[in-house]
Symmetry: C2
Subunit: 205 residues, 2 copies
């Protein structure tokens, strides 16, 4: 498209780099900002830069946090002997909303996906192994989505953690295969945590 302004073209290009936003939507958003008071653009850009430059990852579970330790890890009422392994922070929020889990989390920061160039070293797997070794963990729940990539990641973690003698379970496949965990309703998700299975049983299927 032929923009009459280089400033506009640059803003549209930058916005269109965000996932799920094409050039036309980007143009619409840019023109929307131009119609609003300058303060709105300023608040938006300040919030984004503050998020990107100031946010911490919890030193224990790698959840996003404004403190060195996130609220869940810092809560003495949570059961530190059971770890729930999830892909990212949205999954923590989804599981917390079910009120079915009182243990701690471990946020992988992704799942193994050769298609997208994500390998085991891009995830927080070393930190997970270390936690299991040092923090008296009795059980680990694999709570990833029901996708092929998640299955691969589960199997990789099982090979890694199995030798440590910790109980490994996987949330029940109440989640429709191919769906993303974060879009599952709280009832289904809560039930899938309650009816988790030993990983060996799942492997046998």
């Amino acid at each position: 498209m032929d923009y009459s302004s280089k400033l506009l073209a640059r803003a549209v290009d930058e916005i269109a780099q965000l996932p799920g936003i094409g050039k036309r939507s980007a143009l619409r958003l840019a023109l929307h900002l131009l119609k609003q008071p300058q303060a709105q653009t300023q608040h938006l850009t300040e919030a984004l830069m503050a998020l990107r430059s100031e946010i911490n990852f919890c030193a224990k579970c790698h959840n996003l946090s404004d403190q060195p330790l996130c609220e869940i890890c810092a809560n003495p009422k949570r059961d530190a002997t059971i770890l729930c392994v999830v892909e990212d922070i949205r999954d923590v929020m989804a599981i917390e909303s079910t009120s079915q889990f009182k243990g701690l989390y471990h946020v992988l920061g992704g799942i193994i996906s050769p298609m997208e160039g994500v390998g085991p070293n891009d995830l927080t797997l070393d930190a997970l192994v270390q936690r299991v070794k040092e923090e008296g963990v009795n059980e680990i729940i694999f709570a990833l989505s029901a996708t092929v990539e998640a299955d691969t990641t589960n199997f990789y973690m099982y090979k890694l953690l199995g030798p440590l003698g910790v109980k490994i379970s996987v949330i029940a496949r109440g989640i429709p295969v191919g769906d993303e965990l974060e879009y599952t309703d709280a009832l289904t998700l809560g039930r899938s945590i309650q009816s988790r299975l030993p990983y060996e049983e799942v492997l046998r299927e």
Copy 2:
């Protein structure tokens, strides 16, 4: 939703103020930025602030421009005796892409819409009248969308400009009624400009 970070909650709130972006999409965008290098967030925010604080509106046609006068108005090859009145810059881009129009534009900056609180005084109508009086304009083409609000705006402009003795035409309704101008394909849009009608004829229908 219960965010583990106030920085994240603030960024999500700001992103979700953009039109067509809900809280869930905003969260997805925020987490995407966190996974990318900090430079990407910086480029995005700098481009948005530069756009909002540095951009000019062309002193003649009110198109967006980095210069006091936009490229179209500054081009001596364009026919200054014919003005095409459009709602916003996206419509200029859509009409330019048809290569069917060699005159100049006038960007209203909106259309009259009591529902959205947009009245005649919010548009660049005074400047339009002044241009017609001072710049030797022979013909004005109304090139708004085919909506009720656009009809209202056309009629308002007709009452305003009719007494000035200038020829007033309206682009042909090749545009499906109720559709937005910017989504019309270039062929249909080009034809609608060629087969424009005197506004009096349209009134008689």
